[in-house]
Amino acid sequence: MENREKLKELMLDILLIDEDEFSFELKREDVETWDSLGVVSVAVGIQDTFGYHPSTDEATALDSVDKIIELLESNGIQFEQ
C-alpha cells in the first residue's frame, strides 16, 4: 500500500470518519474526534504505521493531514503526489 493510502486508512481508523469525510486537506478543527486523545492517537498511529516517533512538540503541532505529511517527508518518508 502506498504511503498516502496508508495515511488515509490510519486517519479513518483513528478519527472514525467516513471515506467521504476524509481529504488530504483535513484539519483538526474539521472533525470533533480529533480531540486531545485523538492527538495522542495520531502520534502513536504514525509510529505504528510509519515507524517514526514524533516528539511531544511535534505531536501537538500536528493539526492537519498536510502537516503530518510534511513532518514525515522531512524525516525521509516519501509521499507520492
Binding site: 472514525l16 467516513d18 492517537s41 502513536v44
Partner: protein
Amino acid sequence: MRIIRASGPAIDAGLLEEAWNNPESFVFVPAHMSMDDAPLFRHRGYLPKELSKDHFALLTSGSTGKPKVVIGCRARSEDLTRVLHEIQDSAPVAETICALPLTYSYAFVNQWLWAKVQGRRFRPSPGLSSPAQFRQDLIAADNAMLCLVGSQVSLMESQLADCSFPGVIRLHFAGGRFPQHKLESLNRMFPEAVIFNNFGCAEALPRLTVRKAGASNDAQNVGSPLPGVELKSVEGALFFRSPFGAVATVGADGFHLFDASEWIPTGDIGHPAADGESWQLAGRTNEVFNRYGEKISLFTIGGTVEDFWPGQSAVFKTVDTHGEEAGAIALAPKPSKQQMRALLSEFRKKHNRAQWPLYIVGMDKLPELANGKPDLVSIASIGDEHVLWRQHI
C-alpha cells in the same frame, strides 16, 4: 452433603427427582467441573448441621471462571416457583423445554423445580448445540415454556431462520442483557409466546424481578420486584432481600450464612425507574470503571453493539499500554471492513473517545459457557491474529 454430578439433561432430571424427595441435602455440580478447587469441598466440614437436610446447593463456574456455591432451602425455592407461576400466568403451560444446563440456577428453579411443583412435563433438549434436534423439539412443543439467555438469540436467528414455533407460549430470558432489540424477530419465531425479562442473581436463586417484554422499550428496565422481594440502591450498587433467596454461599473467602435482615449485593449497578415501580440496570459493578477520567459502562457499550450487530457479540474489560482500563469487543461471524467501520461510526455518533473499544476481534463463532453465555475469559485471551481494528493509544 451428597454430591450429584450432572451427566445429561434427561438423566439429571431423574437423579434430581430422587434427590429432592430424599431429605438429605445435596449439591448438584456440572459434569466436567474439577472438584480440586471447589470451595464447598474445602469448607464442607464446617457447614452448619441445619443445612444437612432439606437444602440443596448449586455449583457454577460463572463468567469469571471462579467456582461459587449457593445453598438454598428447598421450601423457599418451591415457594418461588409458585410465585413465578402466578406472576407469569403459567397456568396454561403444559410443559417446559429445557435447553440450558440444569446446574444453572435459572434452568434448575424456573424449569425443573417449577415443573415438579406444578406437575408439568419437563422436556430436556440439547438446545443450540444440536440445532436440528432443537428445531424438532420446538416444533413438537405443546403449550410450552422455553427459557433462554439473551446472547443465544442471534444464534437462533442464524440456525432457525424462517421457523415459527407456535407451540411455545411462554418465552423467558435471563442471565444478561434482555434482547429488547430482537423482539420483532422473536415474535416472528414464537408468534404465540408471551415474552418475559427475568432479573436476578445466583444468591437470589435466582429471581428478583420480572417484566413482560412489552412493558418497557428499554432493555435495561428489569421490571418490578416479586412479592416479598425488596431492592435498594446504595451509591449505585444494587442490594436485595428475598424470602426465596439462598441461605448461604461458599466462595473463595469461605462460608457465609445470610441473616434474614441482611441486604445482599446483586453485583449490579441499578436504580429505581422514573415510574417509581420498576428498576433500571446500568451494568455489573465490575463492568463500570474510569478511563481517562470518564465513567465507562460495558453495559452501555454492549447496548450500542447489540443495536447494530445482528450476530453474536461480547464486550469485555481489558487494559491499554498505559495501564488504563478499557472496553473491547468480540463479534461473530467476522464482520467485513465496511460493517466494522459502520459499527465504529455508531460509536463516534453516540460516545466520546474514552467509551470507544480499545480493539475489536472477529471470529466465526464466539466461545461460550455451558449456559450459553459468552465465555469472556476465553474471549479476552483471543490472539492478535483475530484483531480487526484497534485504537492507537
